[in-house]
């Protein structure tokens, strides 16, 4: 039991390979039956990326179809399936697991100073459940797919759609348990596995964000699972739950679906906010401004996020009274997100900022998330939303939060912790180029959609009036830039695995516990049980993090 210094072992690693989690066992079995959270995280990385690629291909087809006003590339029925499957793959198989299952799995035990998560077998089980859910869904897509939209709205999904609603539903249902188990594991680990001295208020904000996310996963996901089950019961047994003809109510589906799916957008964005807190504090070399506020705003988002779901139903036939209540609460839930944004900005103020790739992504996040969040207020106000419902304004808002927010944060995190995960440095030059390409491409894709939506272009149609073509061409052009920008990291990150410079243990000179072990970490994470004696984000020179000094020894890359 000894305090680990941030500087120890910061010399460039010797040539002889140390035993780490990657070279500790080479057989397929040693991967497939591993209980090591780091290996599970890597397997998640590969699987989630595959789903991201597939969802991206669907997105490409959508943008290509919308290049021209007529429905000429795809038939309208095919188009319905394409946007549905884009949504289902992206939401359930990429956005929800991306940060928690990859970065969270990898980093959470490292950050709290534990050898592994509290329930390692359950962790492996969650990966297998993800695979099973994914394979069933992919199988259903190959059989002919589904055309209900990712929201599975009744009565279309229960009564009219002839596509593979139930097969996809079962895939999503099974996949839900994967995130329940991940959330359970995180909560138990954070409560029971913290290293000596790692008090709640010394936890990195990444951990707080994952704690909040896990609460939502556990409290919300069972509801959507049961809702899908109810759809199945109605489809097969004709028991009236959602169909008015047999005594049900279609709006009930929307209540139950959005009770989960609004909080689910926080499952997607909260971990991203955690990443951004780490990156901004790190590359500003400053303790985060208002640590407690940022930590508790995560919890507040998780709790209040459950009280606002009716803002998806303003024009669905929900009562006006309910609409007013949900509208008011939606404004309230914007406050904690605003607190975070202000605090990140205040953290950067007078910080010693370095513009490394992760920081470029994080700064991009600030702007894009701001636009995404503020346009959400437009959609949350009962009057204005009547004009905007089901238009491209909603699509643009959602993508600003989910791509501009979550995906950008995910990329920031991957770049930030890549040296720790793989022990290799990627090309900083190409990293910066791709970060900027993604930012430009993203804005070019989605900003025109705000205008399109405001002008009245509805979503989920394969054709549109000719006067809207110019903006759609902008959007499709932007999507090509965005797509190109997203392929670049795949290339240079894989390249770095073989040819990249070996990473130092603490390449950014940051104080977090994950930087106080070797890169890549050994299977048991720390050679000795770490004892935490410093506060979170302690960049003081007395903790051995003197950047100038380190630069002289060339132990850092920045």
């Amino acid at each position: 039991m000894q305090e680990v210094s941030a500087i120890s072992g910061n010399s460039v690693p010797a040539d002889e390979p140390k035993l780490n989690y990657i070279n500790n066992g080479h057989t397929l079995k040693s991967w497939l039956l591993t209980k090591d959270h780091k290996r599970i995280a890597l397997m998640y990385l590969v699987s989630v990326s595959a789903f991201f690629l597939m969802g991206g291909i669907y997105a490409g087809f959508i943008r290509l179809e919308l290049l021209t006003p007529a429905s000429d590339l795809l038939e309208t029925a095919t188009y319905n399936k394409v946007f549905t499957q884009h949504g289902i793959l992206m939401v359930f198989f990429f956005l929800i697991p991306a940060i928690p299952a990859i970065l969270g799995n990898f980093l959470l035990p490292l950050m709290i100073g534990a050898k592994d998560l509290a329930l390692p077998r359950i962790n492996l089980l969650s990966l297998y459940i993800y695979w099973i859910g994914g394979i069933i869904t992919l199988w259903a897509l190959m059989q002919g797919g589904v055309d209900t939209g990712w929201t599975f709205y009744t009565p279309y999904s229960t009564t009219f759609s002839n596509s593979y609603v139930m097969a996809v539903g079962i895939g999503v249902f099974i996949n839900g348990f994967s995130s329940i188990l991940t959330g359970l594991n995180f909560i138990v680990s954070i409560h029971t596995m913290r290293a000596p001295g790692m008090t709640w208020f010394r936890l990195p904000l990444f951990v707080w964000a994952h704690y909040a996310t896990s609460l939502v996963m556990i409290l919300g996901t069972p509801v959507v699972a049961i809702t899908i089950l109810l759809v199945a019961i109605e489809r097969f047994a004709r028991i009236g739950i959602f169909d008015p003809a047999i005594g049900g109510d279609p709006i009930l589906f929307q209540h139950l679906f959005w009770f989960y799916s609004h909080p689910a957008v926080y499952i997607m964005i909260l971990p991203g906010m955690g990443v951004i807190s780490e990156v901004i504090a790190g590359f500003s070399r400053k303790r985060i401004f208002g640590y407690e506020f940022v930590a508790f705003s995560s919890i507040a988002i998780a709790v209040f996020g459950f009280l606002v779901w009716g803002h998806h139903m303003f024009v669905s036939g929900q009562s006006i009274f309910a609409g007013l209540v949900f509208s008011f609460l939606s404004m309230v839930v914007a406050v904690p997100s605003a607190i975070k944004t202000f605090n990140w900005t205040a953290t950067m103020y007078k910080g010693s900022i370095s513009y490394d790739t992760p920081m470029l992504y994080a700064i991009g996040f600030l702007g894009l998330f701001l636009i995404g969040g503020l346009t959400g207020l437009f959609l949350g106000s009962v009057g204005l939303t009547v004009h905007l419902t089901d238009t491209y304004f909603v699509v643009a808002h959602f993508h600003y939060v989910m791509v501009g927010g979550q995906v950008i944060a995910y990329l920031a995190g991957i770049h930030y912790w890549w040296p720790k995960m793989t022990g290799r440095m990627y090309s900083e030059f190409w990293g910066k180029i791709s970060a900027m390409l993604i930012f430009v491409g993203f804005n070019l894709t989605f900003f025109p959609q705000f205008i399109l939506g405001y002008m009245g272009m509805p979503r989920r149609y394969a054709s549109y009036p000719e006067e809207l073509q110019v903006l759609n061409i902008f959007s499709t052009a932007g999507a090509s830039v965005l797509g190109f920008g997203l392929v670049m990291p795949v290339v240079y990150l894989i390249h770095s695995l073989f040819y990249g410079k070996k990473a130092a243990d603490n390449p950014w000179m940051h104080p977090g516990l994950e930087w106080r072990t070797s890169s890549p970490p050994p299977t048991e994470n720390f050679k000795e049980m770490p004892v935490v004696t410093w506060e979170a984000y302690d960049f003081g020179e007395e903790s051995g993090l003197d950047l100038e000094d380190a630069r002289k020894r060339e132990a850092v890359t920045i």
Binding site: H255, F259, F306, G310, S319, I320, F321, A322, V325
Partner: protein, 108 residues
């Protein structure tokens, strides 16, 4: 962990669990037969109410005995209560829509 397990065995033992199981089976049969009684003549929805009451009782047995919540720490109790609290939110906010749809100040 292991000593916890030993404790659990001693709580009510296999015979105890069998009794709980029989209570659950009895509840199911009771629900089935009660659906044939015309309770709705007393007041509308009485049949549903009775069915829900039986279901709730069965659920409490599962939570308290099968899931060991009865012998668990305060934290576990808190988690169990929180789940009900969230269920209450879901019901309350959904019903807030249904109860205000047709009548009142805000009706169309």
């Amino acid at each position: 962990m292991s000593d916890n397990h030993a404790e659990h065995e001693e709580h009510i033992g296999i015979p105890g669990y069998l009794v709980i199981f029989l209570i659950l089976v009895f509840g199911t049969i009771f629900t089935y037969f009660s659906s044939f009684w015309d309770l709705d003549s007393i007041f509308p929805g009485a049949n549903t109410l009775l069915a829900l009451a039986i279901a709730f009782t069965k659920m409490m047995f599962v939570i308290l005995y099968f899931m060991h919540v009865r012998w668990s720490s305060k934290t576990v109790w808190l988690a169990a209560v929180a789940a009900f609290f969230w269920l209450a939110i879901m019901f309350a906010f959904t019903m807030q829509d249904y109860f205000t749809r047709i009548s009142g100040v805000f009706s169309v």
